[in-house]
Amino acid sequence: MTSVVFWVGVLTLVGFYGILAMILNMEGGWGGMWDLGTAGLLAVASYFFVIVTLDDAMLGTRFAPGWPLWLAWPASAVFTGIVAFLVSLPALRLRREYFLITTFAFAEIIRQLIVVQDDLTRGVIGFSGLDRPFDDVVTGRDYNYVLLGLVAIGVVVVFLITRVVARSSFGLLLRAARDNEALALSLGRKVNRMRRETFVLAGVLIGAVAPLYLWYIRAVTPQLFAPAVTFTAWSALVLGGLGSIAGPILGAFLLIVFTEAVGLVDWSPDQANLATALEPFLVGMLLIVVLRVRPQGLLGERGAFRRATRRDRSDDATEPPANDALPAPAMSTPRSG
């Protein structure tokens, strides 16, 4: 019924959303910054990458410098980092839900601008049939394996980066500032600067992984960067466990495999509405149920930082007592280390 290639594609998507969720975890889980602008930064990175690599002016765009891949890829990371910095200037003056609204507004502005500025972005049509690296070496279906490999490398790299951040004094301070900002400030820590650095790092990482997403989709349209992307990544993070290190990947795996598997069911044409409705229904129910039964997500933050908390019991005081119930099993590795 289903081919291996299909599941390779699903796993690629899992990896991609896993990366986004890990980035969000760094900002939201540890930094306390509820960022709903992920889709916006992803759009910035994707369009930047596609436009600078264009070499065909025939498409009717104003600008087609045709940069090579080795230049365009890092440039897209740097450019997205710069945009993230600019967004952080107004956004970081605010906290929690106000921050959330500002970043959300920013993502919507970006998406609308992409639609409107069609001399640069080709509006709602966008670009399709994008060139991919190794396209002439590996052809057809086999390319999916290449893509999975690339995304897997991305997952490992981002995982290692976030783990380093999490275990560093920088990460500890981020969490401290999240739980008690006044205290962190009174200790002489530059909380706002740390948050800005985290936000910019998130931007750079999003800029770096955006090309992978483009090669998977092979097209870029404003529709790709709808708020649904941000919500899916956040849902994966909340399911897996906000604040835990491996939670985002577990959450992305469950969420994406679940919804893709549901998409495999054969529906008769007169049930088309039901088929469309099923995915948002299941994702929504999953969110509601997990938050009801296990609000800290499948792997909680406490499990992820077990060694740290044992050394310093005072850390426990800030955790909700609900976390005491079940220590996260998959995170038991730090114990032995």
Binding site: E97, Y98, I101, V115, V116, F231, S235, N273, P295
Partner: protein
């Protein structure tokens, strides 16, 4: 001037939707992302009653308000009440989950097509160089009446005063013997009913589809923040201002920039006055 009138109509609807949103934010302390879906649901209930059962539009609107109001109350009891103690993050994400579920239910039930109320707006009136239809006057008038009744309710009735008490200091209100449960139930009913009202009006003015919810929650958020989440009257004025700004900006720049203007204004206001335009108290969240 013509665009100011359009803006006034858009703004009225936006104000009605945002006031309900702000009420929940104040008393329940979280951003209810599902509010947009309640608006869409109200629009659907109305359009089905009007087009398939040929119910009068005012009756349909009233039925839709009561039905969605009760539904909102049920959702609060079934979905939000059990996780209430777990704080803002959990409630916020629960409401996102609920919004997805509601959207799915509406897609399954009503389909993804566009529905129209097909209601005549009545004759056009010319006041100076401005043209306004009877229907548009009705929308603005209904908004005014609703806001006035809400104001009277919040100021003059015991229950309304309890709502305001919980909004300004929940603990103190509880100590003083205000029933948190009754207040919560009232707020959910009123908020959902107002969402349905805005939905029906928006549906009559434009069209109804399942995208309505997500599309409108963004502008509702913008209006609520502009007005200052803590102030119901601020939110009201912000809704009107936002509607007028969006429609007047269409005179000077392309209409496709409409929502860019709205969100640009939002970011600008947050930069200059993070506590919102109409609140005197500084936002605690913005002070550090």
């Amino acid at each position: 001037m013509q665009n100011v009138v359009f803006g006034l109509v858009t703004g009225s609807i936006l104000a009605i939707a945002s006031v309900g949103f702000a009420l929940v934010r104040q008393t329940e302390n979280f951003l209810n992302i599902a509010h947009g879906q309640l608006l869409a649901l109200g629009a659907f209930v109305g359009v089905v009653l009007v087009t398939e059962h040929s119910v009068n539009i005012y009756v349909a609107g009233a039925i839709s308000m009561v039905a969605v109001g009760v539904f909102g109350l049920l959702l609060a009891i079934l979905v939000f009440e059990p996780v209430r103690e777990r704080g803002g993050t959990v409630l916020l994400f629960t409401s996102i989950g609920l919004a997805l579920v509601l959207e799915a239910v509406m897609i399954a039930w009503f389909g993804t097509g566009i529905r129209l109320y097909r209601i005549s707006f009545g004759e056009q009136h010319e006041i100076g160089d401005v043209v306004i239809t009877t229907g548009e006057i009705v929308i603005v008038a209904l908004t005014a009446v609703t806001v006035l009744s809400l104001q009277l309710f919040l100021r003059r009735t015991r229950l309304g005063r309890s709502v305001r008490a919980v909004a300004s200091n929940a603990d103190l209100a509880r100590v003083r013997g205000v029933s948190a449960r009754t207040v919560s139930a009232t707020v959910w009913f009123v908020s959902a009913a107002l969402a349905a009202m805005a939905g029906v009006m928006l549906g009559v003015l434009t069209s109804v589809n399942t995208e309505m919810g997500w599309h409108n929650i963004l502008i509702i958020l913008a209006a609520a923040v502009l007005g200052g989440l803590g102030s119901i009257y601020g939110v009201l004025v912000a809704g009107l201002v936002l509607g007028i700004v969006m429609d007047v900006s269409a005179l000077y720049i392309d209409t496709s920039y409409r929502s860019v203007v709205a969100f640009g204004l939002l970011v600008l206001v947050l930069l200059v006055r993070p506590e919102g335009i109409f609140t005197l108290r500084r936002r605690q969240e913005a002070t550090v």
